[in-house]
């Protein structure tokens, strides 16, 4: 639709929708003490938190794609019973309050937890209060994004190219790797970006399950949360930092890897 053909009512609602997101961001930037920003951000605590956030969210995204894409393939293509239940379960973290997710992780992987007790006694491994726990917490809340986006992308494919490849003799694995996934790549990319963004901003599950220790488990959102009670200017500075990092990555990715979320572009000729 060209601008001339958007109904006025739609335009008004759209403006309200945009304002809901844009105005608070403007509010944040307006109240930032720009002159003191560099000072507020140049402590070792900030460098620790930022480094930890970037490393853990990157690991989370990598693992989420590595296991989430196969899960999405199963949900989209497999014919075993119980898939609807599985899909619902995998989507639960999207609706569950993050702290509840943290509690669930604690009761499962904690030292007296369902799995954790065995890990602790059998292998001497404890999970809570480690950086691995940070990744687990992030994975729990952001894996659904990869799965949902990828499944939608695979389902949107009409199957012609896959059928053609199979007719030409390609085994299912080859069809998947050379036809299906390349064509679903934009959706996988969109899911990965959402996953990374969610992992970067994760707070509730992390603080409950991984704890709060600078250098090991205190990510930028945790540092912000802690600073809010002690030094609000520092909290604002960290918010602006996170906003900046997110903008840089999202703009750098742009349409190159991430067309509009969920929109699937079919490549003209899949490699076979």
């Amino acid at each position: 639709m060209s601008a001339k053909r958007v109904p006025a009512a739609v335009g008004v609602l759209a403006t309200v929708g945009a304002a809901i997101v844009v105005v608070p961001i403007i509010g944040l930037l307006a109240k930032t003490h720009w002159s003191g920003l560099v000072d507020a951000l140049s402590g070792p605590a900030v460098a620790d938190a930022l480094g930890l956030s970037l490393v853990t969210s990157a690991i989370t995204t990598f693992v989420a794609v590595a296991v989430g894409v196969p899960l999405a393939v199963v949900l989209a293509r497999a014919t075993v019973p119980g898939l609807r239940v599985l899909r619902a379960l995998v989507t639960i973290p999207l609706a569950l309050p993050p702290v509840a997710g943290g509690v669930a992780l604690l009761l499962t992987f904690g030292r007296r937890g369902l799995v954790g007790a065995w890990l602790d006694e059998g292998l001497g491994l404890t999970v809570p209060f480690t950086t691995a726990a940070v990744v687990l917490a992030q994975l729990f809340v952001s894996l659904p994004f990869v799965v949902a986006a990828t499944e939608a992308g695979i389902r949107a494919l009409d199957g012609r190219h896959e059928d053609a490849a199979a007719t030409l003799g390609a085994r299912p694995g080859r069809v998947l790797w050379r036809v299906t996934l390349p064509m679903a790549l934009p959706s996988i990319g969109a899911g990965a970006v959402l996953c990374w963004a969610r992992a970067l901003g994760e707070l509730g599950a992390t603080i409950t399950f991984a704890g709060n220790l600078p250098g090991r488990t205190q990510t930028v959102p945790l540092a912000m949360f802690v600073q809010l009670d002690q030094d609000p200017d520092a909290a604002v500075a960290l918010s602006v930092l996170l906003l900046g990092v997110s903008l840089v990555v999202l703009i750098a990715l742009r349409d190159r890897w991430v067309p509009a979320f969920g929109r699937v572009r079919h490549r003209a000729e899949p490699t076979a």
Partner: protein, 216 residues
């Protein structure tokens, strides 16, 4: 009427309110530093109760307080251990918290109990590497009670709950005083002052003593 109180007062004040020792009010509990930040930012609270004087001073300096602060109870630090975990065996003295095989959880130094614990440990020359810095004493208690940590530093009023064992910290400076203040933004200041008066009343003092609090 909205009253925000330090997390360590939850059981005692809720019991006192249940017994009718306190005027009707909506009680909420959190780390003192979080409550102070909210009060300073303009949250609609009538009475605020802090667990130490540092947080109280923040409120006074921010000029949100009406009238004088009223001390009404004190508490002492205690090392808490989980009866079920290894903590009970491994930790018998404050110095045991420095052992590498003991997993310790402390409160963040911004939290009253965390600040007090840091001072007490420094005075005793004990260097602890905590696994986590919690944002309220309730966080420390939960982690130890769940067995995720072997030991932590909380208050003597936390001993005996949730299967927690442990011992008081003997250092004479390891004691903190609770103060209640009425906020300028209180809707009904007279009612808020009555609540604060009731904290020093005999019935509430009995409930506090029953929970292990020390007299002001």
């Amino acid at each position: 009427m909205r009253v925000a109180a330090a997390a360590s007062l939850r059981d005692a004040l809720t019991a006192a309110a249940g017994q009718g020792a306190l005027p009707a009010a909506e009680l909420s509990f959190a780390g003192s530093q979080a409550i102070a930040a909210q009060a300073i930012a303009g949250a609609p609270l009538d009475v605020v109760i802090t667990a130490d004087e540092v947080t109280l001073n923040r409120l006074l300096e921010a000029d949100v307080v009406d009238g004088a602060p009223r001390p009404f109870a004190r508490n002492r630090l205690a090392v808490i251990v989980s009866d079920a975990g290894g903590g009970a065996r491994l930790v018998r003295r404050l110095a045991d918290l420095a052992r590498p095989d003991v997993r310790v959880v402390l409160a963040d130094p911004a939290v009253p109990v965390g600040r007090l614990a840091a001072v007490a440990l420094a005075r005793a020359g004990v260097i602890v590497h905590p696994a986590s810095l919690e944002q309220s004493v309730a966080g420390v208690v939960t982690k130890v009670a769940l067995g995720e940590a072997d030991a932590g530093i909380a208050y003597i009023t936390d001993l005996g709950h949730d299967d927690l064992g442990g011992f008081a910290v003997a250092d004479p400076t390891a004691v903190t005083t609770y103060h209640a203040v009425v906020l300028r933004s209180a809707g009904d200041r007279a009612a808020a002052r009555r609540f604060v008066d009731a904290l020093q009343g005999a019935a509430t003092q009995r409930a506090l003593a029953a929970s292990g609090f020390l007299a002001p």
